[in-house]
């Protein structure tokens, strides 16, 4: 490509073009673990690291976009006893596949980020909870941990600094809800993966009841860059309040689906072009910009947006985990929503009433509409049900089930009406 897009492969995928980039030797060759060495050599104060994170405007890459520096500052400082750092690699959101590639191609940068996290937060043990359906990534991560331990980078007395920190890889079994941080903790503890009611938040009552910080894979993998180059450089890669680069998992009807690391604030049109444009030169119909649980946006809105938290939020959707699902003009929105709703119906944990009961109800109505059995009152009912689920549940899965419905009805209501009236698709 003639013009390299801003920030392309700057922070995480910088070595992806190299053979066996996941090997420790190759990571070390490109300056890997320098950030950790700097932290240990300078005995960098944890407050300094946190303030660099705050400057960097690094926001949680798992979907919620919560400022990482602020989250780290919630950990009790003078707590006597165990504290934990947990990496959330349980990416189960349809459309998301970036954490898999981080672990496959740059696992050591994640490990380095976690060690710096352990140092900063005072945790002696870290867990990486890896989604059950990406087994290869789990194995690759275990190999990387072995390499790091053998090199004295992990375990007791890291690099002779006196720092103890070890990481355990833990793979789930594919339940979507285990990506919710407290369900994830329950799952590590060996219990049924069900979200906990908050408060208390994990920073005070987390894994095994101990103070715990949970960050997404991409978030933690961004830490070494910030430590090495300073928060300001990271911030400057992106936009104010939206620092750094972001890996976008582009899927759907594009020429070259895949992961693209670009600067926050990159125009959507540019990202779409990188991904090969809409397949076969067809017309762009709509985009789900942040993974299946965020509201869909029509093409004309989407083409005006830049890819960052604030821009997408202003348009009424969310950047989420940066999972961009592209739909061309062959897509029937009723069928698309039926598939999405089925997912949430299947993945609701069943703990709290609105989600357990409501997701099935939503799916059944949409299923009926798709199969020519829709009724005129169904659309108002769907709207009302989605409203009755969202904001009323223990975790965000209820919102995740409601938002696609609300988004579709907001922008594509006419397609649903057509389906109900003509008992078939308008596409």
């Amino acid at each position: 490509m003639a013009n390299t897009p801003k920030g392309q492969n700057e922070v995480i995928f910088h070595s992806i073009h190299l053979p066996e980039s996941w090997k420790l030797a190759n990571y070390l060759a490109v300056g890997g673990y320098d950030a950790l060495k700097k932290v240990l050599a300078e005995k960098m104060p944890p407050d300094e690291i946190i303030s660099q994170l705050k400057i960097s405007a690094l926001r949680g890459r798992g979907g919620a976009g919560f400022p990482t520096g602020l989250k780290w500052s919630f950990m009790p400082r003078n707590y006597e006893g165990d504290k934990y750092l947990v990496c959330n690699s349980d990416e189960g959101e349809p459309g998301t596949f970036k954490d898999r590639d981080i672990i496959l191609y740059n696992p050591h940068q994640l490990i380095e980020g976690m060690i710096i996290g352990g140092y900063t937060l005072g945790a002696k043990v870290g867990y990486n909870y890896i989604h059950g359906e990406i087994w290869e990534a789990y194995e690759r991560f275990e190999e990387a941990l072995d390499e790091a331990r053998a090199a004295g980078l992990l375990g007791k007395n890291i690099l002779g600094s006196g720092l103890d920190f070890d990481i355990h890889a833990h793979h789930g079994f594919g339940a979507y809800v285990c990506g919710e941080e407290t369900a994830l903790l329950e799952s590590i503890e060996g219990k049924k993966g069900q979200p906990r009611f908050k408060p208390p938040f994990p920073a005070s009552f987390g894994l095994y009841g101990k103070p715990t910080t949970i960050n997404n894979t991409e978030t933690l993998a961004s830490i070494p860059y910030i430590v090495r180059h300073g928060g300001q450089k990271f911030l400057d890669l992106g936009k104010p309040n939206n620092g750094g680069t972001k890996i976008f998992s582009v899927s759907g009807h594009v020429g070259k689906p895949g992961n693209y690391e670009v600067a926050m604030g990159t125009p959507f049109s540019e990202l779409l072009a990188m991904a090969g444009g809409v397949r076969g030169g067809r017309k762009l119909k709509a985009v789900i910009p942040g993974g299946s649980s965020v509201p869909v946006l029509p093409a004309e809105i989407m083409m005006q947006l830049t890819m960052d938290y604030d821009s997408i939020a202003q348009a009424g959707s969310y950047l989420g985990a940066g999972s961009v699902i592209v739909m061309d003009d062959t897509v029937c929105m009723v069928r698309a929503l039926e598939r999405l709703s089925y997912f949430y119906f299947e993945e609701s944990c069943g703990q709290c009433t609105p989600c357990r009961e409501g997701t099935g109800w939503l799916y059944r109505i949409i299923h009926r509409i798709e199969h020519g059995l829709g009724r005129p009152e169904d659309l108002d009912l769907l709207d009302s049900l989605a409203g009755n689920i969202s904001g009323r549940t223990i975790c965000a899965l209820g919102d995740a089930a409601a938002m696609p419905v609300q988004g579709m009805l907001k922008h594509f209501r006419h397609e649903f009406e057509h389906h109900i009236q003509h008992k078939k698709c308008m596409v």
Binding site: A175, V177, K192, F197, P199, F345, E346, E347, S348, C349, G350, Q351, C352, T353, P354, C355, R356, E357, G358, T359, G360, W361, R364, I365, R368, L381, N388, G391, R392, T393, I394
Partner: protein, 764 residues
């Protein structure tokens, strides 16, 4: 203190209070299903969503702590909209067939649906169906009705101490079930029926027999274990249909043991004796009261004149009321030498002269939960005292150290800091070692660890259980335990075996110096016996000896609600009322006197036993038997300050030196939970539980080997002349050379002493 406002009402509450607790205290009702004051907060039903000023979303009142200045609106448009939405979701998959549901009329979902539901359902899709599970003889399931509040699950985890219910599956496919569809075995399981807000878990014995509104509720007191649980006895057509708990935080809280809850079936047993019966020329026949009472009076007079007063003995059940026991005491002092005793399962009475009052718990029941360290000596705790065991579990959960000297190692469902599982013989020695360790001697091993553990904490207690009280060296255990408690500055108490074990002492159902105790009356058989409410061969320490004594007697008068084995040895059977058909008083193990009235009229020609004894007193021409009410009897029996009459301390606590253990095998004969008294023995559903199963002869592997038998084999178990064939069972947690053979069960009622020598041989 925080100032908050709920629905415009200004309140001042403690920090940490949740909105729902603050509202409850202020009398503002917030609808709820999963919340329960005794269980952890799950916040899963979402019914209690309320509006909180400045909060972007409705908040669950059960899980939201109040903050200073918080303004809560429980019935604003936002709150009601959220509550109604949750109700709609709860109802979409719930069968709307209340008329055929057993819970109808007392269903929280039904009640709240009236206030928060819609007239019509917007749900037009297929409803979910969940297959029912068979979880045992006590609880019926109708799992399609379940609303997944997880109260039953949390009850198991947090109160019963065993997670027998759980949620499997996800989303709409999630269901509450037992682990691999097994049945529920907890002795507290029935509480999940009360906890279940819908008709998913209902009482199997009660199911479909009546509607809540048809029943009349009468307050009563449990006649079973020593706790004195407060009951609500529910009746219809003059019979007891079910029993529910009455809240009493100081006693049973809001719980009941399964025994207290389901034993009522025994009140309606076909074995109920409805008319007096006399045996003439070897033939039993029914008769009227005057004839029966004349027969008794005549017979007693004959024995008195021919054989002397000392030849009459009275054996009473500690499940009888204070009034009954007091009149029996008075009768026996009038016509006999005061040969009266209620301690039928006790074998060692050598401390009697040293007693200074009625043995009791030594503290309030509620204090048990606050103990820091405890030593329990000789108890099958969960079977004997289900809710005291629960209090101890809560103490352990709080960090208390529970120590045990016991011949059996049944799972107490909580951490036990130290346990010495030793043969009954060796219990004395172990307790002595603990005493020595506390006195400063260096003692290694388990006794040393127990002593070290007991030194910890502020609130300590030493408790003697039923097995210790039945022990052939009870007096020594008593003396040593007292010394241990004194060395520790600990409370010292007895886990009272029966509903009125304490009351029986206070009512005088124990012999004075002139009278004979239970063991003496059987050791030297009397010519005449009066049996009050006891099935003597099942309720006594040595059934073989008891039966022999009764069979040799010239006159046996059995006052009982049941036509039981006494048909073999008695001469007159007098139908007397069980607790549900008489007024009376029980004094619980904590020394609390609780009186109750009859819940129903006596069945057939049954009479309250206190009235029968009153008439007998008159027929025997004794003075002072003209009471007009049971209250009058009570006033006379329990005059003065009761607490002054409770005393666990022996005047001179001297234990005999520890002797060498006897050779041979020793029986561990505890009383199974559902065979402890006459009523529960006849409770049909409880008798179908695993805990009421056929007794086995359990031994550890080595003892089995030495006896030359293997698990599952038939063995002949002998004590003296009595023998019985039982299946051998293996329990490696039992001490060596011990055979665990339960007492109190008809299958073992021909055996000898509960903790005496026993012989095991291969059958065939």
């Amino acid at each position: 203190m925080l100032n908050i406002e709920i629905d415009g009402k200004q309140l001042t509450v403690e920090p940490g209070t949740t909105i729902i607790d603050a509202a409850d205290a202020a009398g503002i009702y917030i609808p709820r299903f999963c919340y329960h004051k005794k269980l952890s907060v799950a916040a899963n039903c979402r019914m209690c969503l309320v509006q909180v000023e400045k909060a972007p979303k409705p908040m669950p009142a059960c899980a939201t702590p109040v903050t200073d200045g918080m303004k809560v609106m429980t019935r604003s448009e936002t709150a009601l909209k959220a509550q109604k939405a949750v109700m709609e979701f709860l109802l979409i998959n719930h069968p709307l067939d209340c008329p055929i549901c057993d819970q109808g009329g007392e269903c929280q979902l039904q009640d709240l649906a009236v206030g928060y539901g819609m007239g019509n359902s917007r749900y037009a899709e297929e409803k979910r169906v969940v297959l029912n599970k068979n979880i045992g003889p006590l609880i019926s399931t109708d799992m399609t009705r379940c609303i997944h509040c997880t109260r039953c699950v949390r009850f198991g985890q947090e109160i019963a101490g065993i997670m027998e219910m759980g949620q499997i599956g996800r989303g709409e496919h999630s269901e509450i079930t037992t682990f691999i569809e097994s049945s529920i075995g907890s002795e507290l399981s029935g509480n999940i029926i009360d906890l279940c807000p819908v008709g998913a878990l209902t009482s199997k014995p009660f199911r479909y027999s009546a509607r809540g509104w048809e029943l009349t509720t009468r307050p009563s007191i449990s006649p079973h274990d020593g706790l004195g649980a407060n009951l609500a006895v529910e009746t219809k057509n003059n019979s007891v249909f079910r029993v529910l708990p009455r809240d009493n935080e100081e006693i049973n809280e809001c719980w009941l043991s399964d025994k207290d809850r389901f034993a009522y079936e025994g009140l309606n047993s076909p074995e109920r004796l409805q008319r007096p019966m006399v045996k003439r020329y070897g033939e039993w026949r029914e008769c009227d009261w005057p004839e029966a009472l004349e027969a008794v009076a005549g017979g007693l007079k004959r024995v008195r004149s021919e054989n002397g007063d000392a030849q009459i003995g009275a054996l009473a059940s500690p499940h009888a009321t204070v009034e009954e026991l007091y009149l029996l005491h008075k009768l026996m002092h009038g016509i006999g030498n005061g040969n009266v005793d209620h301690r039928l399962r006790q074998s060692d009475f050598s401390a009697d002269a040293n007693l200074q009052g009625a043995p009791w718990l030594g503290m309030a029941i509620a204090e048990v939960e606050k103990l820091d360290s405890v030593l329990v000596v000789g108890s099958t705790l969960r079977a004997d005292h289900p809710l005291l065991a629960h209090r101890l579990r809560q103490a352990v959960k709080r960090g208390a150290q529970l120590n045990l000297i016991n011949p059996v190692d049944d799972d107490l469902l909580c951490d036990v800091a130290n346990k010495a599982i030793v043969a009954p013989d060796a219990m004395v020695q172990t307790l002595d070692q603990v005493r020595r360790a506390l006195a400063g001697e260096s003692v290694a091993g388990m006794a040393g660890s127990i002593a070290a553990s007991l030194r910890q904490g502020e609130r300590k207690a030493v408790l003697l259980g039923n097995l210790a009280q039945h022990h052939p060296r009870y007096a020594d255990l008593h003396a040593m335990a007292q010394q241990v408690a004194e060395l520790l500055g600990a409370k010292f108490g007895f886990l009272g075996e029966a509903a009125n074990s304490v009351g029986a002492y206070l009512a005088g159902a124990v012999p004075d110096e002139a009278g004979m105790n239970a063991a003496q009356m059987l050791e030297e058989p009397r010519r005449a016996y009066i049996l009050l409410g006891t099935e003597a061969e099942l309720d006594s320490y040595n059934p073989a000896k008891t039966l022999a004594a009764l069979q040799s007697a010239q006159l046996v008068v059995a006052l009982s609600p049941y036509k039981h084995h006494a048909l073999d040895y008695a001469h007159v059977l007098l139908p007397v009322a069980p607790f549900s058909e008489t007024s009376g008083t029980f004094v619980s193990t904590e020394g609390r006197a609780q009186s109750f009235s009859a819940a129903v009229k006596p069945l057939g020609e049954t009479r309250p036993a206190w009235k029968v004894l009153r008439v007998l007193g008159n027929l025997m021409e004794l003075p002072g038997f003209d009471y007009e009410s049971s209250e009058q009897v009570r006033a006379e029996a329990l005059h003065g300050d009761l607490s002054a009459k409770l005393n666990n301390r022996l005047k001179a606590p001297v234990a005999k030196p520890v002797g060498a253990a006897a050779g041979g095998l020793q029986r561990i004969g505890e009383v199974p939970i559902y065979h402890a008294d006459s009523i529960v023995r006849r409770a049909a559903a409880l008798q179908k539980t695993a805990a009421a199963g056929v007794p086995t002869a359990a031994m550890n592997g080595e003892t089995l080997d030495r006896a030359g038998v293997v698990e599952g084999m038939d063995v002949i178990v002998c004590q003296g002349a009595g023998s019985v064939v039982l299946k051998a069972a293996r329990d490696d947690r039992l001490p060596h050379d011990c055979v665990r053979v339960p007492a109190g069960h008809p299958a073992t009622a021909m055996l000898g002493g509960m903790l005496d020598e026993i012989v095991v041989e291969r059958a065939g």
